[in-house]
């Protein structure tokens, strides 16, 4: 079980969090033209890197904040955690 440092609450066990996928994906702005390709990339296509990955987790059984976690998908090492509005 991972040990994730919520930037708001501190170190907590994984079972308090829910996984939210790739944190580097940016939603296209509303009311703006988006090509089919760009939209499909946004909706469906995700990288599945072996190694460092910036991902989203939500502290659902804690502060309910979405946070960013930089984690190694191979070793599960967590390098850094960030608030939703922070950039790596």
């Amino acid at each position: 079980m991972l040990h994730i440092k919520c930037p708001h609450c501190g170190l907590r066990s994984q079972n308090e969090f829910s996984y939210g996928g790739d944190a580097t994906v940016k939603r296209p702005e509303l009311n703006k033209e988006v090509s089919d390709q760009d939209w499909d990339n946004f909706v469906y296509l995700r990288k599945s890197p072996r190694g460092k990955h910036l991902e989203l987790w939500q502290h659902i059984s804690g502060c309910r904040q979405w946070i960013k976690v930089e984690r190694d998908t191979l070793t599960h090492e967590i390098f850094k955690t960030l608030k939703a509005n922070e950039e790596i």
């Binding site: 040990h3 509303l30 509005n85």
Partner: protein
């Protein structure tokens, strides 16, 4: 029955307390402190089972977790437990055990014929043989193999025992209480660290219990006793015996299973049988010790062949003789300790040492005790079938390739010692890249991966003095880092015997003309020839060799077999062992009961149960409950002998004719506040929200970004910047996370707060043509006329002194209202509704009637919004705004989504107006078409229409728009029926929606 193999005074057992037990139907006795194994050996029982493949006789090989043979079926307090290791099971009064894997009994086992056919059972035999003819596998081979293979029998009864989970945090977790564990725990405890010391066995001390050493002028045993009692007295230390740390997981999470009651005849009241500890340790100290390696020779699986360290343990802890004419076969000094212990207890052993001329303190001691020692000698083969009777021995050449003349020597046990293998499992599980150490011919831990530190013989350190020095230092250093305190203790003086080098020899060559089986894996019956065959057939990777031969794959996970297997592969392949590498160590280190893994999360405890504030009223009024997610909801309220069908029909009918009331507390409720609340709703829902006036509700659907409908519900504008959103029961949590995601990550500029208020409000839906009359009685001062409270209107009210919110919304399609009060007042509200509604024939209705009402109205719900449908499919396209953007809108122009023959929700009526259509049925054109019959759609929800008194279903049907009036078939392969049906509009009742607006 007397215990012929019990000494009068050796050991740590309590001779004042006799314990009687039963093995294979016969009565025996042992003493308090015995294991089942030690008590059986004391009684002269050496045959306990049959081997897995060849059904060869099986005795005892070890004295602990490494035991490959002695697994029994244990009967404890009327529960039958399979595959219990007799070497670990402590004796208790009334214990009953049986041999496994033998039929009709352990002495005469028909399966042993496999032993004489063994040339037909080489590695990969099953893969090669039972593949043809294919049909034979199911009918002939598998049933026979199943009958003769396997070990114990799993009970099919419900396990009555209680198991617990515990989460714990500590500074240092010390796994193992041998010298390194005790020293490091003690040093860390002195520095004020929070320490957990875990010992797998009932007794603390590990190797100190059986070694002849002195520490600070105390014997090893005395030193252990004093350290443990001091540790137990310290508030910062938890000391646990019978507790196995079996797994090292991510981020320094270690899991330990504590056997609290397995050694008792019966679990005590209010105590669990076992407890699983999830321990998050800042530092993990692995002091798991080492396991003696066997030497490989002919028939080395015969009962009576055992590890030399096990024989010593039986002598020193249990006062039990493994034999009265022992032969010690060793390649190192450890065997001498066992021989000397025999000698001290009046038994004359013979030592066969593979070394030519070793010289050390302990060899000299054995010589001075006049023990018969034969140097450069090996055991060629054990003789005897169910028990060792003698041994063929021979002198071996210096290059270890030539055997001299075979001699036969009488003996009743052969104690083997092939040096020591560090127990590196936990370190390896942590991610530690282990390395091969040439000096000890074994793998030892390398660079730490997580915060693990390996100590003592688990690290390949075999002298006590170095172990203690290193462990005190590590315990001090690691704890000091955490507590910033140092209370250093000085190393006590240590007296121990110095060892000399071991011999790298491990496998005795076959003598000319002999074809003895030489086993590597004793539990899975893998012999030298099996591995050789696998290599000849081209298997190279050690992971493949393992799987093909099953070497190391038994329940003991190869604790005694792995290294000899690697040695063999490297010898045959002409490689060195590190090139071959070892197979992956995976948790658990020892088998863990399923009960302990599951813990308390069984039956009703497997998930939380949520009940509405009106639950007790439902119970009192004969509600039959159904699980709705984690909620318990009334399915129907049983009257007399009614069944579900009759009850729900009565309730639904009463809603259509009079008035009914339904508990809708379970609906998800989200409070939305802030100046940008309307903007958020406008982006989340498919329809327009910016112009919703205060005091009005609106129905909305929300999509995922891929255009699939996520949820639907109504949202009401309570005041200028305050909205009340409802979601379906099932999607409540997801919708909240969805809103939070967009607010926190995508549109942080929106000034809105969202919070779940599902628990805060109790809800009652009052539905039916007479619902307005009921509402008027509840709120006599309010104008609830169609003008005062129009359809989709909202007002506040005072319900007999209680604040209430009244929404005129409808799920049933009838004139209906939803009344919400604070949860604590839920029961009061409900009782008032029933009281004032009596004169209008109000009846409560459950989820079944609720479904009936919505289905015949064509209102979509979870069974249509199933994660595969877009708004059009659910006839919600009218709700999709063309003007504004919203979540998922960009996906709706996909080719498949705008196809002319896109699927759509329709109504389905059986032509006979009698046969109910099972949910999940396929809609097809031709019931008798060749398979696979093209599927046009599926039936999503079915009910008995109370309006028309015939079955009615909703379906998602391809080109549904143009299918109205068509005749199809509903096929249910599960129920094996096919029903001719007609496709009709999904709005079966009141298609114009006049009732809700009345």
């Amino acid at each position: 029955m007397s215990q012929n193999y019990r000494l009068d005074n050796n050991g740590l057992i309590n001779r004042d307390k006799k314990i009687s037990f039963k093995f294979n139907g016969k009565n025996y006795f042992g003493y308090e402190g015995d294991t089942l194994a030690s008590a059986l050996i004391a009684n002269g029982i050496h045959l306990v089972g049959r081997s897995f493949k060849y059904h060869r006789p099986r005795g005892f090989f070890g004295a602990g977790v490494d035991e490959p043979y002695a697994m029994v079926q244990l009967i404890r307090n009327n529960e039958s437990i399979p595959n219990v290791r007799a070497t670990e099971q402590e004796l208790f009064e009334g214990l009953e055990a049986k041999s496994v894997n033998c039929w009709p009994n352990v002495n005469f086992d028909i399966g042993a014929i496999n032993n004489f056919l063994n040339k037909f059972f080489p590695a990969g035999f099953y893969y090669k043989t039972f593949m043809w003819p294919r049909s034979f596998w199911y009918k002939v081979y598998e049933p026979i193999i199943r009958k003769t293979a396997g070990f114990g029998v799993v009970s099919t009864n419900h396990d009555q025992e209680r198991y617990e989970h515990k989460y714990e945090y500590c500074d240092l977790l010390v796994a193992g209480s041998g010298p390194s564990g005790l020293a490091s725990a003690y040093a860390a405890a002195q520095n004020g660290a929070r320490v957990i010391l875990a010992e797998d066995k009932p007794r603390f001390g590990g190797s100190l219990l059986t070694s002849e050493v002195s520490i600070g002028n105390q014997s090893g045993q005395e030193w252990v006793k004093n350290i443990i009692s001091e540790l137990k007295s310290m508030p910062n230390v938890t000391v646990k015996n019978r507790s196995q740390v079996f797994g090292y997981y991510d981020h320094n999470m270690l899991v330990m299973s504590e056997r609290i009651s397995d050694h008792l005849p019966k679990t005590k009241k209010y105590t669990p049988k076992q407890r699983l500890w999830y321990i998050r340790a800042k530092e993990a100290l692995i002091s798991s010790g080492s396991i003696e390696r066997p030497l490989v020779f002919g028939n080395n699986d015969t009962p009576g062949v055992m590890l030399s360290s096990a024989a010593k343990e039986y002598l020193k802890i249990y006062g039990v003789l493994a034999g009265k004419k022992p032969l010690v076969f060793t390649n190192n000094d450890s065997g001498y300790e066992t021989a000397i212990e025999f000698k001290k207890n009046g038994i004359d052993p013979v030592i066969l040492d593979t070394r030519k001329d070793p010289s050390s303190e302990i060899v000299n001691e054995a010589k001075s005790l006049n023990i018969d020692i034969k140097f450069s000698y090996v055991v060629v083969a054990a003789k005897g079938y169910k028990k060792v009777k003698s041994a063929d021995i021979a002198k071996i050449s210096d290059d270890k390739k030539q055997l001299s003349q075979i001699e036969n020597i009488n003996c009743d046990c052969i104690c083997v010692s092939g040096f020591w293998t560090p127990t590196i499992h936990l370190a390896s599980q942590s991610g530690n890249k282990t390395k091969f150490n040439e000096d000890i011919d074994a793998f030892i831990p390398g660079q730490s991966k997580q915060n693990e530190t390996v100590l003592g013989s688990a690290k390949g350190i075999f002298t006590l003095e170095e172990t203690l020095k290193n462990s005190f230092e590590k315990g001090n250093e690691l704890s000091k880092k955490i507590t910033n305190k140092e209370n250093k203790i000085s190393l006590p003086s240590v007296v121990e015997k110095k060892y000399t080098n071991h011999d790298k020899f491990w496998c005795v060559p076959l003598p000319e003309g002999k074809n003895y089986k030489r086993f590597l894996d004793f539990q899975n019956d893998v012999a030298v020839t099996d591995v050789e065959l696998a290599l000849r057939e081209g298997y190279r990777s050690i992971e493949h060799v393992k799987r093909y031969t099953t070497l190391g794959m038994a329940t003991d996970q190869g604790k005694t077999s792995n290294l000899n297997g690697l040695q063999l592969v490297s010898d045959v392949e002409n490689k060195v062992v590190p090139q071959v590498g070892h197979t992956t160590f995976r948790p658990p280190y020892t088998p863990v009961s399923i009960g302990a893994i599951v813990g308390r999360e069984i039956g009703k405890h497997s998930k939380p149960t949520r009940k509405s504030p009106m639950h007790s009223w439902h119970e009192k009024n004969n509600a039959v409950f159904v699980d709705a997610g984690v909620w318990l909801r009334p399915r129907y309220y049983k009257q007399g002998n009614e069944n579900l069908f009759e009850g729900s029909k009565r309730e639904a009918k009463n809603v259509r004719q009079n008035v009914g009331v339904c508990d809708v507390t379970t609906l998800g409720k989200i409070d939305i506040k802030g100046p940008d609340a309307a903007e958020l709703l406008n982006r989340v829902y498919t329809n327009a929200w910016l112009k919703l006036p205060v005091g009005k509700a609106r129905y909305g659907a929300m999509l995922r970004e891929d255009g699939i409908v996520m949820d639907d519900g109504t949202t009401t504008r309570i005041s200028e910047n305050h909205y009340h959103m409802t979601t379906t029961t099932a999607q409540a949590a997801n919708v909240l996370s969805h809103l939070e995601y967009y607010l926190q990550l995508v549109w942080p500029e929106l000034n809105v707060n969202v919070v779940s208020t599902t628990e805060q409000w109790a809800g009652a839906a009052i539905a039916g043509p007479k619902s307005r009359d009921v509402l008027q009685k509840l709120f006599p001062d309010l104008n609830v006329s169609s003008e005062g409270l129009p359809f989709m209107g909202y007002i506040k009210g005072n319900l007999f002194g209680v604040n209430a919110r009244i929404y005129r919304i409808s799920f049933s399609g009838e004139l209906a209202y939803e009344v919400n009060v604070e949860s604590d007042n839920g029961n009061f509200m409900w009782e008032k509704i029933m009281e004032v509604g009596k004169e209008f024939n109000i009846q409560p209705y459950g989820t079944e009637a609720l479904s009936t009402l919505r289905i015949e109205m064509g209102h979509v719900a979870g069974s249509e919004l199933d994660g595969r449908t877009i708004p059009y499919d659910n006839s919600l396209e009218g709700l999709v705004s063309k003007k504004k953007d919203f979540i998922g809108k960009r996906s709706l122009n996909k080719t498949a989504y705008i196809a002319q023959d896109r699927q759509k929700v329709v109504g389905v009526v059986p032509l006979d107006k009698k046969t109910s259509i099972p949910e999940g049925s396929y809609l097809v054109k031709d019931a008798n078409a060749k398979l696979p019959n093209p599927k046009l759609g599926h039936v999503s929800a079915s009910c008995w229409s109370v309006e028309y008194d015939n079955p009615f279903s909703l379906a998602i049907l391809k080109d549904g728009k143009n299918m109205i009036g068509k005749k199809l078939f509903a096929l249910s392969p599960v129920k094996n029926i096919s029903i001719p049906v007609e496709i009709v509009s999904s709005h079966y009742v009141d298609p114009k929606g006049e009732r809700v607006r009345s």
